[in-house]
């Protein structure tokens, strides 16, 4: 029974019942524990049935009685065959409870085995890891900072920290692939730069502390860019039926065009102030350069932008510098004059210069307006010119026709005939040409149709293939995901297997089961042996009684015959009858003793079971409970009476 109890207690603990460690067998279960165990089991087996029941016994006696009744009802509903009622839970006896608990534990669903097939969620794993980490850290004693070893340094003191600070890194990439021919010259320079001057990455950031941050950041950005490209290519690029390079260049061109449009819209020449006109001219210039290099490589475009800005700064700088130099030179000789004079002079100069500047800008604007007007008028004039030329050529044509008709007029009739014949001939020729054309056209149209059909077929084929490719992509991704999932599951299971206690080995259990089975077999053999023995004995007894009966009948007859003749024989006959009767009585007594013995054994067993039922204590408990109920009842009655009064 110990074995059974241990298994029962183990599975009850798994259902969430709080069983103390010192409870080793069902015998030690209290009523509260029984109720809790049964309710927990019911909740696992059938949540709708179990949720209405509370796992703790209420203090009131009548409420306890009700809980017991409802538990018994629930067990009956689940199909428990044995006897059960409130007394099963409240006034427990060991075998009944054991059988009930065995029934419930057998009914427990075996979901745990199936749940293991699913990989635990990432959050569950993470929580487990966190719990393990906290456990190890809690196990370490806290030490004051001066006593810390390096072991504690990691968890108990913060150590030097610095925030995440990533820097742009210059990396030597695309080393073996000088991809574009036009970039080859550049590539050589870059390669030389990489070889000779580029610092190793770990020396590039100004602080050594930001090396890992920069490297990680760089890698993450590369990864995410690759991922983005992948998703875009799968969603849009594949459908456009272009090679990746073509798709890229097209996208770049489209984007550049859009940027250009936006910039143009934003930089419509607004001659509000001097500075804006300058910046807009700068921008439009930039735009022109931008448009000019759209086919080039992006870095080249960047380069031209830089050269342009450079050109701007450097072409304007010298003029300014010269002016400043001149101003400085004019100031220099008068340096011995007083400072106030100098200041006044400078202010006058500045105001004069500003005036000049304003004048110049006004002039510039005026001239600009003039130029615009003039360009507009030039346009108009050139349009007019074109129109005139067109009308001129038309008129020339009509003049020529009229001239010819006038030439033909003198010999009108002849010419008419000639013209008619000419017209007829040309009409015939037209007809002939039309027929010829028809002849050529039909096969060409057929050819065209055929080609068109072929084309559409091809298109369909290609779209079908595209669909297939997409499906394949999806499948690949799915399988990869599945594989990853399986791998993680495998790892998790292995980790779990490693953590499982090794001492409770399977083989021991199977060994024990096999032992038990062989024991049972042996017992069964013994039982059959004993049964056959009993049967043999019964048979022997039957044979002997039959023999006895027959012998007695024969003897009885013989002696009876002789008894009529002889007096002594009659006496012996009497003795014989008495002997027979006594013997049957004896046998009867022996049989009676056997049955009584059996009865005694039965009764002893019953006494044993009754002893097991803890009848006395249970009766005492019942008596107490009865008293409690009566008290409750009287209290309730008193309350009612109070209420009535």
């Amino acid at each position: 029974m110990e074995e059974v109890d241990r298994i029962l207690i183990h599975s009850l603990r798994q259902t969430g019942t709080d069983i103390d460690d010192d409870v080793q067998s069902i015998k030690q279960f209290s009523s509260e524990l029984i109720v809790e165990a049964v309710v927990r089991c019911l909740r696992v087996i059938d949540p709708t049935l179990g949720n209405g029941l509370s796992p703790s016994l209420p203090p009131g006696m009548s409420a306890r009685f009700r809980v017991g009744m409802s538990l018994a009802q629930a067990c009956q509903d689940l199909g428990y065959k044995g006897e059960s009622g409130y007394q099963t839970f409240l006034y427990s006896n060991e075998p009944e409870i054991r059988s009930l608990l065995m029934f419930l534990v057998e009914k427990l669903p075996r979901e745990s085995a199936e749940a293991l097939d699913q990989p635990a969620g990432k959050s569950a794993l993470l929580q487990k890891a966190i719990a393990a980490q906290i456990k190890t850290q809690l196990a370490l004693p806290w030490l004051p900072p001066s006593c810390r070893l390096s072991l504690h340094c990691k968890t108990q003191s913060s150590g030097p920290c610095h925030s995440f600070h990533a820097m742009q890194l210059s990396l030597p990439y695309s080393l073996k692939a000088p991809t574009k021919k036009q970039a080859k010259g550049r590539c050589n320079f870059v390669k030389e730069y990489w070889r000779e001057y580029l610092l190793p990455v770990t020396s590039q950031p100004s602080h050594h502390a930001s090396v890992p941050a920069s490297l990680l950041e760089n890698h993450a950005s590369e990864l995410s860019a690759a991922q983005e490209w992948e998703s875009e290519w799968n969603s849009q690029g594949l459908l456009s039926r272009l090679t990746p390079e073509e798709y890229c260049s097209r996208k770049r061109a489209r984007l550049q065009k859009r940027i250009e449009e936006q910039l143009r819209a934003a930089t419509q020449p607004r001659p509000d102030t001097h500075s804006t006109t300058r910046s807009t001219s700068d921008l439009t210039d930039l735009l022109n350069s931008f448009g000019g290099t759209t086919t080039g490589v992006d870095i080249l475009a960047k380069g031209t932008r830089f050269t342009h800005s450079e050109k701007f700064t450097f072409t304007q700088e010298p003029e300014k510098a010269a002016q400043q130099m001149a101003a400085a030179a004019s100031i220099l000789p008068s340096s011995h004059q007083s400072e106030e004079d100098l200041k006044a002079k400078q202010e006058v100069e500045i105001s004069a210069l500003q005036e000049q500047l304003q004048q110049l800008s006004v002039q510039m604007e005026e001239v600009g307006g003039d130029i615009r007007q003039l360009t507009v008028s030039i346009h108009q004039v050139s349009d007019e010119l074109k129109r005139r030329e067109l009308s001129n050529s038309e008129k020339e044509d009509t003049v020529r026709v009229k001239k010819q008709t006038i030439n033909l007029l003198p010999d009108a009739e002849n010419n008419l005939v000639k013209l008619q014949s000419l017209v007829e001939a040309s009409a015939k020729r037209v007809v002939y040409l039309a027929s010829q054309w028809e002849k050529h056209r039909a096969p060409l149209i057929d050819e065209h149709r055929r080609l068109k059909e072929l084309c559409s077929n091809r298109e369909m084929e290609s779209s079908r293939k595209l669909c297939e490719i997409k499906d394949l992509h999806d499948k690949i991704r799915q399988s990869a995901e599945e594989a990853k999932k399986k791998e993680s599951l495998y790892k998790q299971l292995i980790a779990e297997y490693d953590t499982l206690p090794k001492d409770v080995s399977r083989s021991a259990y199977t060994m024990r089961i096999l032992e038990i089975i062989s024991n049972i077999k042996k017992q069964k053999e013994e039982i059959t042996k004993i049964l056959s023995d009993t049967k043999e004995l019964q048979k022997e007894i039957n044979g002997l009684t039959g023999k006895l009966d027959r012998t007695f009948a024969v003897t009885d007859e013989l002696v009876f015959k002789d008894a009529k003749k002889d007096e002594s024989v009659r006496k012996s006959y009497k003795y014989l009858a008495a002997l027979h009767e006594n013997c049957t009585q004896l046998i009867q007594t022996i049989e009676d003793t056997g049955t009584i013995m059996r009865e005694i054994r039965d009764l002893e067993e019953q006494i044993e079971t009754e002893h097991g039922k803890k009848t006395v204590s249970n009766l005492e408990k019942i008596l107490e409970d009865y008293k409690a109920i009566r008290q409750e009842n009287s209290a309730l009655a008193a309350k009612i009476r109070e209420g009535q009064v």
Binding site: Q127, K128, I130, A131, A132, I134, K135, L138, P144, P145, K154, Q156, S157, S158, G159, P160, C161, H162, S163, F164, L171, P172, Y173, S174, L175, K176, K191, W194, R195, E196, L198, P200, V201, T202, S203, H208, A209, V211, P212, A213, L215, L216, N218, H219, E222, L223, A226
Partner: protein
Amino acid sequence: MELSDSVAKGLQTLADPAYLGLHHFTALIEVAFRSLLSSRADGVFDHPDLKIIDQALLKHCHVAATTFILEAVKQNADKSTISSCLEEVKFDTERSDAFYTAYQKNKTSLENLLSSIDGCPPHVTDASWRLDYCIKNGHVHKVNQPSYLISFSTQNGENGATSSEVNFSCTLEQLQDLVAKLKDAGKTMERASQL
């Protein structure tokens, strides 16, 4: 563990015996670990074995190796993950074993390096207290209230280990409240560990 194309390419170069012999490889791996851990910026490639290799190639390999090492430490990769990852970029067992031994040797210091990227609040290292009893003050003639002066000495991890003090005063109830909250926090930790 995912690797970007450039890193994968660099590792492939690293794995290729045509570019790097085995002792060059081990030297480069050592250099990669050292350059991550030591703060001395100059002379990363001073190793005599590495002088003869094309410097651009060397720098690319170095970038790939350092990135791979950092990613592996970041993900707390075990041997099987690392070896499968290296197998994908065509490492043979000899090289991946060499890498793994170096990785094992430097793992804790690299972990410390990565965990030092953090902005953490100051740690309490010690506490001291004093019980004051205020009889009266400038405004009230009779106060008769006890108050605690608590002083936490803290250590601030940021910008090296600098220690400072946090001082405050509180009444008995406030102190009890503080203690109860701290106990609650401790209990919560214990509960979290028994998941």
